[in-house]
């Protein structure tokens, strides 16, 4: 079974493996430095994955969004199977798509895949996904009623064929999106990142006298698969259930998740039977995306140290009834599907706590809140995305961190950058004392972020907030975190999900939920409690 031993010795493999990772990291840096979208450049909402010629991932960028990393190989395999079979690719081709079912679950995420040729043979693919500044349609958010309101959909299409740009496609894009030069600029940045990765891979091939990538791919994939299987084997066999509720629209139409995780030998199956049906708001997730966000916490729990690639996923199966919240079908709206994806770690860790309690964390004050502001500033239209994170869940041996992104990994937009781009004045950014769930280890605190419209025109606000009527759930007798809230001054109704308007002079006050606790609070160390009081984390 150890293909590794027959092809690459442990020293050579160790060397080549780290080289592959540095190739994708380098491409990721190029993408980040040259992109316009704040989502990509300030918040790292992108990923680069190197794949073999079967579309299996071999290496991925280190600081990236987990969902994208999981999705790229699925996309590439689908391209090979249903759109562009292996023998039809030509050197210099670049394929683009934002089809949510093939790609990352909603239209703003654009997948760009380039084939890699070495000595005239196809040896693999490199792909990037990045959140584009705009894809047309309604302002991005949870408020769209169907897929068609969410803008342009580009099925898998050659953006560049044998080095020749597809002018028709560029033209269509240009006429369908806001801030077209930035959106197209970012697509070009993705192509450039792919090219950079290809260039570096060529050097690796030459310097190591490799003919193709297959043996190396097999070796790294087998190693990652083996590590995952060994870790799963060490966990007790059995079926573990967990049920979990989230806000939904925050007005009474919530979402219900049910999961049954079955560990048998060295395999794990997660089944979402019992989960509620598709929601009327655009928070539905396609199965690819649900798979990525289910496999991710499993990887964290069982094999965090081994570099990720296709092999880590082989022992994992995810199933969900067709048409449910996590296996949405056309034309369910998907825009803010991240709210749902971001919840799956809660469900997975909740179930796994019954099997491997020392390998999981308590629920985080997620999903990450996404806010989009659209209006006019200094005579220019702006579309500004920014993100806010809640408290991190407690761990079996330590408290949760305050205000930290999980399971996604997006940075905030600096206040001073936000104020440069948009006519707002931020009035508060602070930790919220007492917002964390208590426990032997407590959760991390949530945050408050408030801002005022100081311009003379209303600002359209697309809100995607979560845990305003539900809370982060504690594990093993740990307490729940505090709920968040969305308030406006002067006081009136303001949606926690969907579109609202912030009129001149109005102030929006966003309070993000705290993380949940782990273990019984009566076991908490007295010194830790005192320290929390001194620092004002609790009163």
């Amino acid at each position: 079974m150890l293909h590794t031993a027959t092809t690459f010795d442990p020293i050579a493999l160790s060397i080549l493996w780290s080289r592959l990772i540095s190739i994708v990291d380098e491409a990721g840096t190029t993408l980040q430095r040259t992109s316009f979208s704040t989502v990509t450049r300030e918040s790292n909402d992108f990923a680069v994955v190197l794949m073999d010629r079967k579309g299996r991932s071999i290496a991925q960028s280190s600081v990236s969004v987990p969902s994208f990393l999981g999705v790229l190989p699925i996309l590439t395999k689908a391209l090979l199977k249903d759109y562009f079979p292996e023998d039809t690719w030509k050197e210099g081709d670049v394929v683009m798509t934002n089809d949510p079912w093939l790609c990352a679950g909603h239209k703003p995420d654009i997948g760009i895949v380039s084939p890699i040729f070495y000595k005239e043979s196809l040896i693999g693919f490199i792909g990037t996904i990045a959140h584009s500044p705009d894809m047309g349609g309604q302002l991005w958010g949870a408020g769209t009623r169907d897929l068609y309101e969410e803008g342009l959909m580009v099925p898998p299409t050659k953006l560049i064929a044998e080095g020749k740009p597809n002018e028709t496609l560029f033209n269509i894009l240009e006429h369908n999106v806001r801030a077209a030069d930035q959106t197209i600029g970012d697509i070009r940045a993705q192509v450039a990142a792919n090219d950079q990765g290809i260039k570096s891979l060529m050097k690796l091939m030459e310097e190591n006298d490799l003919i193709d990538l297959q043996d190396l791919a097999d070796a790294v994939i087998n190693a990652s698969e083996k590590a995952m299987r060994e870790a799963l084997s060490a966990a007790p066999d059995g079926s573990y259930n967990y049920a979990y509720d989230t806000d939904g629209d925050g007005l009474g139409e919530g979402c219900h998740f049910e999961i049954t995780i079955t560990i048998k030998g060295d395999e794990i199956v997660a089944d979402y039977t019992g989960t509620s049906g598709a929601h009327y708001m655009s928070i539905n997730a396609v199965l690819n995306y649900a798979f990525a966000y289910t496999a991710y916490p499993i990887k964290c729990a069982f094999s965090p140290d081994v570099p990720n690639n296709d092999g880590s996923f082989y022992p994992i199966t995810v199933t969900a009834p067709e048409g449910c919240l996590v296996n949405a079908q056309k034309p369910s709206p998907l825009g803010a599907r991240n709210v749902t994806g971001n919840m799956l770690h809660s469900v997975v860790f909740g179930a796994l706590a019954k099997a491997v309690p020392n390998q999981v964390q308590s629920d985080c004050g997620s999903a990450c809140w996404c806010i989009v502001l659209n209006g006019e500033h200094k005579g220019k239209e702006f579309v500004e995305y920014f993100f806010l994170n809640g408290g991190y869940g407690a761990r079996p041996n330590m408290d949760g961190e305050h205000v930290l992104s999980f399971p996604t990994n997006v940075a905030n937009v600096p206040i001073e950058v936000l104020e440069t781009d948009v006519a707002v004045l931020v009035t508060e950014k602070s930790l919220v004392p007492n917002s964390a769930g208590d426990g032997e280890y407590r959760g991390g605190l949530g945050q408050r972020f408030s801002f005022k419209n100081i311009g003379d025109k209303p600002i359209n606000v697309s809100m995607v907030a979560e845990k305003t009527v539900t809370s982060a759930k504690g594990i093993l007798e740990g307490k729940d975190g505090q709920m968040g809230s969305v308030k406006i001054i002067p006081e009136r109704e303001f949606p926690s999900k969907g579109l609202g308007k912030l009129h001149p002079g109005e102030e929006l006050i966003l309070t993000l939920p705290g993380g949940a606790g782990y273990g019984n609070p009566s076991n908490r160390d007295q010194g830790a409690i005192e320290q929390d009081k001194i620092l004002g984390y609790i009163s």
Binding site: F36, C300, N412, G536
Partner: protein, 690 residues
């Protein structure tokens, strides 16, 4: 006569340049704790005893130290408070909200240098254009000052929102504190780092305040004791940008000392590059715990403003505290000789990132370390001499090294001890070459167009392997390879760098305003140089702007045209931006507006001249060749390898690799298929494509 003194974690290095004889003298003493000045005076005394140079004959001293870095890593700074705009006290703790490792749910983020109970808000607000939205509550200042006194605060950092656009409120706080809490140190963000992005600016300001009292005390002691010992010359301090500041400058902005030692190494690289007519050099500096690389392009080191101090996880970007100060772009490319090797859970050999440091140290130190390290592998392979480590001051146990490698690596992998040792040596070289390659590529350059210079305690042992992996043609092991940073101090210029944040689209810039602030910054710079006795006519001025395409978040640095700027310079500025952008990213974007963000003016004194000839105690008739010993190379296995004494090598001496060249502070390993030439100044030049 000039003296460079570099305090490192383990050793304090001394390089003395005698401009009468044009010769260099070296000394090395153990760094002393808790008072490093003891070690300094031990070294100064050694120089006097050994070579007969009393301290009063020294005209100038240039000093660098790890004091600031260590204070941040070990959290041994002052009791510090932090003042912010009310409502934003937690910005320093919240940071950017992003994890540095996506799969590690057990990660911890770096704790802020100022705890929550010592962060205080004051009612005031300035908008992004610098307009006052809420006037400062002057009455609250009194209460604030009282709280600081009651809490026994030694230093305070002040960072208000948008203070880079209007410094008024911060200045007012500074004035008030200076008057009413006179013994407390304070740092204003508008002086420390006047740039957009509140978290990064807060982080730098808090850190400056945190290290200011200890740095101030240390520098005062240093200066006083030097004066007391008879020193009458000028003192300069090495800073992270590879330039020198005054004692006063260092006391005011101690965070600039964070990378003083490594910056010294890079400046030595610049010096040797110029001397040897090598414009493009890759500096490779490997010590006991860290290896660093830096690019010198067209004779200049690259300067970056992205830096992190006190990482909680080694080599993990984002796990430290950001400090946006000008730093020579040195990247940590790997661990040093103390890095531990192991077989991981999937049966692969890996090295680092954790280090056995000096206690217990590598297995071969025989101080209780059981884990095999890079140094152990180097010893087993014969690269190091067990009896001549640090010139024989320390004996290494080859048996202990072999046993650690056998138990922990060779047996589990089912390979021989030598294969395992070679594996460790190769992996560490490969990882370093990898990181260095990425670093060079990120700048849009090709590593094959560079020659390499290697130094540091472990640098010459690994330079050949790394150079080969990078396809470098020529490797230089300079004179004083074990004390290079201190040598670099002596060839660095005194300079001041002024920063001004002024965000505007290129097409709508008010050129009068630009010319005015640039001129002010230049005048400030001349004033600073005058304090070090440097005349305006000997100074050079470099004016740069960080710019980007409108809508991007990362800037690139462009040198501005000379003289008064006007609309006539627009095309030239655009051209320079596009050229640099294309150089870095292989493309440019047509028709996109450009935006200027941060303006910098560097006013720099002349770069000191120096010869590189080392004073030697050898009589000149000794043989460099000392015989052979068994050394293991990948291509050949064990062979009888010639060993040379570096001090006895003669100018223009030539021999072929393989070879081992020993000196007190380091050992140069020369692999097979290469040629060695000793130049007139006794630098070792190795041709790798012989």
């Amino acid at each position: 006569m000039k003296l460079g003194i570099d305090i490192g974690g383990t050793f304090t290095d001394f390089v003395l340049f005698d401009d009468n004889s044009n010769k260099l003298y070296f000394a090395k003493t153990l760094t002393t704790y808790p008072d490093p000045t003891v070690g300094i005076f031990n070294g100064v005394k050694e120089l006097e005893d050994k070579f007969g140079f009393p301290v009063k004959n020294i005209d100038g001293i240039v000093h660098g130290t790890t004091l600031v870095t260590n204070a941040v890593i070990e959290r041994k700074g002052a009791k510090t408070a932090f003042i912010t705009t009310k409502g934003f006290e937690d910005v320093l703790e919240i940071g950017r909200e992003m994890r540095y490792d996506i799969y590690d749910i057990f990660l911890t983020m770096p704790k802020p240098l100022v705890p929550r109970n010592l962060r205080m808000g004051i009612s005031e607000r300035v908008d992004i254009q610098g307009n006052i939205v809420t006037p400062m509550d002057e009455g609250a200042l009194k209460d604030l000052a009282e709280t600081l006194k009651q809490n026994g605060i030694e230093a305070v950092g002040v960072c208000l929102l948008n203070s880079f656009a209007n410094t008024g409120h911060e200045q007012a706080i500074g004035k008030y504190l200076a008057k009413h809490v006179p013994n407390m140190y304070y740092s204003l963000s508008s002086e420390i780092m006047p740039e957009i992005r509140e978290y990064e600016r807060s982080s730098a300001t808090a850190m400056n305040a945190y290290v200011q009292p200890i740095t101030d005390k240390y520098l005062k002691d240093f200066e006083t004791q030097l004066m007391a010992s008879g020193f009458e010359g000028n003192i300069n301090i090495m800073i992270s940008s590879g330039r020198l500041t005054t004692i006063d400058g260092a006391r005011k902005s101690p965070i600039h000392l964070l990378e003083s030692g490594p910056a010294g190494g890079a400046m030595a690289g610049v010096f040797f590059g110029k001397h040897l007519e090598e414009d493009n050099l890759l500096c490779f500096d490997m010590g006991g715990t860290t290896a660093k690389a830096c690019v010198i392009y067209e004779g200049q080191p690259e300067i970056t403003n992205h830096f992190e101090a006190g990482r909680v996880k080694r080599f993990k970007k984002g796990s430290g505290l950001p400090v946006r100060i000008p730093v020579i772009d040195l990247i940590e490319i790997g661990a040093g000789g103390g890095s531990i090797a192991r077989v991981n859970n999937i049966g692969l050999l890996t090295v680092g990132p954790d280090s056995a440091s000096s206690d217990p140290g590598p297995a071969c130190y025989n101080l209780g370390g059981e884990n095999p390290t890079v140094t152990d592998a180097d010893l087993v392979l014969g690269y190091l001499n067990a009896d001549y480590f640090l010139g024989g001051e320390m004996n290494l146990s080859i048996e202990a090294a072999r046993q650690a490698i056998e138990t922990k690596l060779a047996k589990p992998l089912g390979i021989s001890i030598e294969e395992a040792a070679l594996g460790v040596h190769k992996i560490v070289n490969e990882n370093m070459a990898n990181a260095a390659r990425v670093h060079v590529l990120e700048k849009g350059m090709d590593p094959r167009h560079f020659n390499m210079i290697g130094f540091g305690g472990a640098g010459p042992v690994h330079s050949f392997g790394v150079a080969k992996l990078l396809n470098v043609n020529k490797l230089i092991i300079p004179v004083g390879a074990g004390v290079t940073s201190a040598l670099g101090f002596l060839v660095s210029p005194v300079a001041s760098e002024k920063i001004h944040s002024h965000i505007s689209e290129l097409n709508s810039l008010d050129w009068n305003e630009v010319n005015t602030f640039l001129a002010d910054m230049e005048t400030d710079g001349y004033g600073f140089l005058a304090n070090s006795g440097i005349d305006e006519k000997d100074a050079t001025v470099k004016r740069v702007v960080e710019m980007r395409y409108y809508g991007q978040g990362h800037e690139i640095t462009i040198e501005l045209p000379e003289g008064l700027l006007s609309e006539n310079d627009l095309e030239e500025i655009k051209r320079r931006f596009i050229k640099e952008y294309e150089f870095r990213y292989n493309r440019s974007i047509e028709g996109m507006h450009m935006e200027m963000v941060t303006w910098r003016v560097v006013v720099q004194g002349p770069i000191p001249e120096m010869k590189v000839e080392q004073f030697s105690t050898s009589k000149g008739n000794e043989e460099g060749y000392k015989g052979t010993r068994k050394v293991f190379f990948e291509e050949t296995g064990y062979l009888d390898c010639p060993v040379y004494d570096r001090y006895a090598l003669q100018p223009n001496e030539k021999f072929d690799g393989p070879a081992i060249i020993e000196e007190t502070e380091s050992t140069t390993v020369v692999g097979i298929n290469s040629a060695v030439q000793v130049d007139a100044d006794k630098n070792i030049l190795i041709d790798l494509h012989h």
